[in-house]
């Protein structure tokens, strides 16, 4: 993973969230959600700040961060592609969306999910509630449905053009 994707954490920002959201143990999930919505993942420095400035223990922060599938501990690309792997999408060919987009982004290693140039990260998610339009994916909050592998590639191409990203296998 390229070093450039590591986020720089400003302590003031994290302290501000703590003030707003709370510092008791029931604030653990919302605090981590705030961190992730800012940085795209949970930088170590931000988690440390939470532990130092709240009643939440390190065990709890780390336990929660690793339990829920929403949280990521690794930096992500500039844009996130979520491919639904719910039942309807599975039986309608979600796998093909995955294969075609990984091919386009040149992510061959199964352990990897981010393109080499840091442009896109592919993520598998559970049902996004659009099952009647399966298979479904979301690129940077834009939902599209009734996709084939080729249609998913077209959608990515369009998005890449709009956001000036370079995609390896266009």
């Amino acid at each position: 993973m390229s070093q450039a994707l590591e986020a720089k954490v400003e302590p003031e920002v994290v302290l501000e969230w703590i003030k707003k959201i709370g510092s008791d143990s029931s604030s653990t999930v919302p605090l981590l959600q705030a961190v992730q919505s800012q940085y795209g993942y949970l930088p170590r420095a931000a988690m440390d700040l939470i532990v130092q400035n709240t009643d939440i223990t390190g065990r709890q922060v780390y336990g929660v961060a690793t339990f829920y599938s929403q949280f990521r501990l690794k930096p992500v690309g500039r844009h996130i592609i979520k491919i639904c792997h719910g039942t309807a999408c599975h039986v309608s060919g979600a796998d093909r969306l995955n294969t075609s987009l990984r091919h386009m982004l040149n992510i061959a290693d199964e352990e990897q999910d981010t393109a080499e140039n840091g442009s896109y990260t592919i993520e598998q998610v559970a049902c996004i509630g659009c099952c009647s339009q399966a298979p479904v994916m979301v690129i940077s909050d834009e939902v599209s449905g009734n996709l084939t592998g080729a249609a998913a590639q077209r959608a990515l191409k369009k998005h890449a053009k709009k956001s000036e990203e370079i995609v390896a296998n266009l």
Partner: protein, 592 residues
């Protein structure tokens, strides 16, 4: 005709957006900037998205389906008095009230979904115009909590979140529990993949859910509520949040509601993507800020729940029915349905079905009627094979049992469960062993890991299913699956583990021959399991277009452009991803 008086209503649920509603609205603004545009939630006719409704100045109503930015100019033209109506997109008009497309809604009985698609979810006055907040006003003025519980008892409603526990019984426990602080939680986790009624309700009619929560809270004596909404539903979080704020500002929600001594407030808690958090005790742990681990019951949450206080957790759809029941009386609700299952139930149709979407029908309707009369039959032309009901906790009902009536006991007798109402319809292109493997991978991944039977047992099951799909299994492996089914069902701590083997048990029961084909013949009849299939190109059908070669992600296809029949697949390189099959327009790719 004066376009100033045209009112355009565009469906903007998540599914409308997925189908392109933003572009449609943009087109209306561009071609007719003078018209009024309103957005509503998803009416449930997802197969017709983007849906656009036009009210003209004569008070006439027109509904169009599958609208794109390209069809917009013609729609506007017609309503300005020029040109012809767009017949093939017209679902409903004053002249066309019985169109077969309209039958989709005409066949339904909508109680929980009564407002979705009719009102703007961001407008509290829209909700008030449709009897909104009338029920809560009535109960604080005229009814004691016990009378409310009695009315719910008369309605005989059972929880719609899966287990089907009688709502009034649960409420009574909490009402009688000691303690001055009690909580009411709305379960909007909707973890069941394939179900989306809760999303549609939270997004499209949030005030109805808020009112439902208030009714439940009043009945049990709770002053605080939480709405636990899953992370994958950002629009639901947004609309629900706005609804809470608006209800506060209007004084509908908060301190001393309607001048009574009843106070109630709601906080949203966003889920973080864990299926098990839909389970009551895990959900509570999650709100408290911990890992979403279930715990042993009893004590039940109704006695000792959130922060140790008596707590009731109700599903979104359950709550959506409550204001209607109070306004119309419990008996009116109980008039629908059967002896053991009263009222209506919402189903989410998806998969190999022509008209996917949301359907609300009285209990007691046959599965076949839902899939054929409303759903319009299979989408592919191939016959139905099965319907998966109840998600990871449920099972597959084969086509031969489609005359089963939808009621708790009858569905349970097939080995499936009612669950939250997701119906994934399947035809011959779904492999039942692969499907069972899919569900086991799901539960295995989602198991919180606390108990061994669920953590290790589901892993062993998945390994066996993988062996079968890879063509490396023996017949004795089926016995091992049976044995694991029994043990995991009996020994798991929570519903996740207890029901995890169900998809395997039902597919084994009804589709055993498919398992045997994988094991004995090393063959996948549906053409899905990658280790057992090959892709080949039929030279006679190949037109030499090169599409397959361009699409192949591993460069396994060679041939000469424009030379018919020249393309071939190098089997040693092929990963059976199916991309070539998908893009070939001349059906030259064979999967065997």
């Amino acid at each position: 005709m004066d376009a100033n008086n045209l009112n355009v209503i565009v469906g903007e649920g998540t599914c409308g957006i997925a189908a392109g509603s933003k572009e449609v609205i943009e087109a209306f603004r561009k071609y007719a900037p003078e018209i009024n545009i309103r957005t509503v939630g998803c009416v449930g006719m997802c197969h017709q998205e983007v849906i656009t409704e036009i009210h003209d100045n004569n008070g006439n109503r027109y509904i169009y389906g599958q609208v794109t930015k390209k069809t917009v100019p013609q729609i506007i033209k017609f309503h300005k008095g020029e040109g012809e109506p767009l017949e093939e997109h017209l679902i409903y008009s004053p002249e066309k009230q019985d169109s077969h497309k309209w039958q989709y809604l005409g066949h339904q009985t909508r109680i929980a979904l009564r407002n979705v698609g009719y009102l703007d979810p961001t407008s509290i006055s829209d909700y008030q115009k449709r009897d909104g907040y009338k029920a809560i006003k009535k109960i604080v003025a005229e009814m004691s909590p016990d009378q409310v519980i009695e009315e719910i008892k008369i309605s005989s409603i059972r929880g719609r979140g899966g287990a089907g526990f009688p709502t009034h019984v649960k409420w009574n426990f909490a009402r009688k529990s000691e303690g001055d602080v009690k909580y009411l939680i709305c379960n909007g986790d909707e973890g069941d993949p394939g179900a989306f009624m809760d999303r549609s309700l939270l997004e499209g009619d949030p005030h109805n859910i808020i009112e439902g929560m208030m009714i439940a809270a009043y009945a049990i004596g709770a002053a605080r509520g939480y709405a636990y909404i899953r992370a994958e539903y950002p629009l639901a979080v947004k609309n629900f949040g706005k609804a809470i704020k608006d209800a506060h500002e209007l004084g509908v929600l908060g301190e001393n509601i309607q001048g009574s001594s009843f106070s109630f407030d709601i906080k949203i808690k966003e889920g973080a993507g864990a299926f098990v958090c839909g389970e009551e005790t895990a959900l509570i742990a999650s709100i408290e800020g911990d890992r979403g681990m279930p715990r042993f019951k009893p004590p039940f949450p109704a006695v000792k729940g959130l922060f140790g206080k008596p707590t009731i957790i109700n599903n979104v759809e359950t709550l959506a029915n409550l204001p209607w029941i109070i306004n119309n009386g419990g008996a009116a609700y109980a008039a629908y349905g059967t002896e053991d299952s009263k009222g209506t139930k919402v189903f989410a149709l998806a998969g190999a079905i022509k008209k996917g979407g949301l359907v609300e029908v009285p209990m007691g309707t046959k599965i076949r009627d839902v899939l054929e009369d409303i759903g319009g039959g299979p989408s592919s032309g191939k016959p139905f094979k099965a319907v998966q009901l109840g998600g990871p906790s449920g099972g597959c009902i084969p086509e031969s049992l489609f005359d089963t009536t939808i009621e708790y006991a009858a569905i349970n007798a097939t080995g499936a469960i009612m669950g939250s109402g997701g119906m994934i319809v399947m035809d011959g292109s779904t492999c039942m062993v692969d499907l069972a493997k899919y569900f086991l991978s799901f539960t295995q991944l989602e198991s919180c890991g606390k108990c061994t039977f669920c953590r290790i047992g589901t892993l062993r099951m998945r390994e066996l299913l993988t062996k079968i799909c890879d063509g490396e299994a023996e017949m004795s492996d089926l016995d091992a699956l049976d044995e694991l089914t029994e043990q995991i069902t009996k020994a798991s701590l929570c519903g996740l583990g207890q029901t995890a083997p169900n998809p395997v048990a039902t597919t084994l029961k009804y589709f055993r021959s498919e398992y045997e084909a994988h094991i004995k013949d090393r063959r996948c009849p549906a053409g899905v399991c990658k280790s057992l299939i090959t892709h080949t190109i039929i030279p006679a059908d190949c037109i030499g277009c090169s599409l397959c070669q361009i699409q192949c992600p591993v460069g396994a296809i060679t041939g000469e452009k424009k030379v018919k029949g020249s393309y071939t697949i190098i089997q040693a390189k092929c990963i059976n991803c199916g991309m070539c099959f998908e893009v070939c327009n001349s059906k030259a790719i064979q999967v065997k």
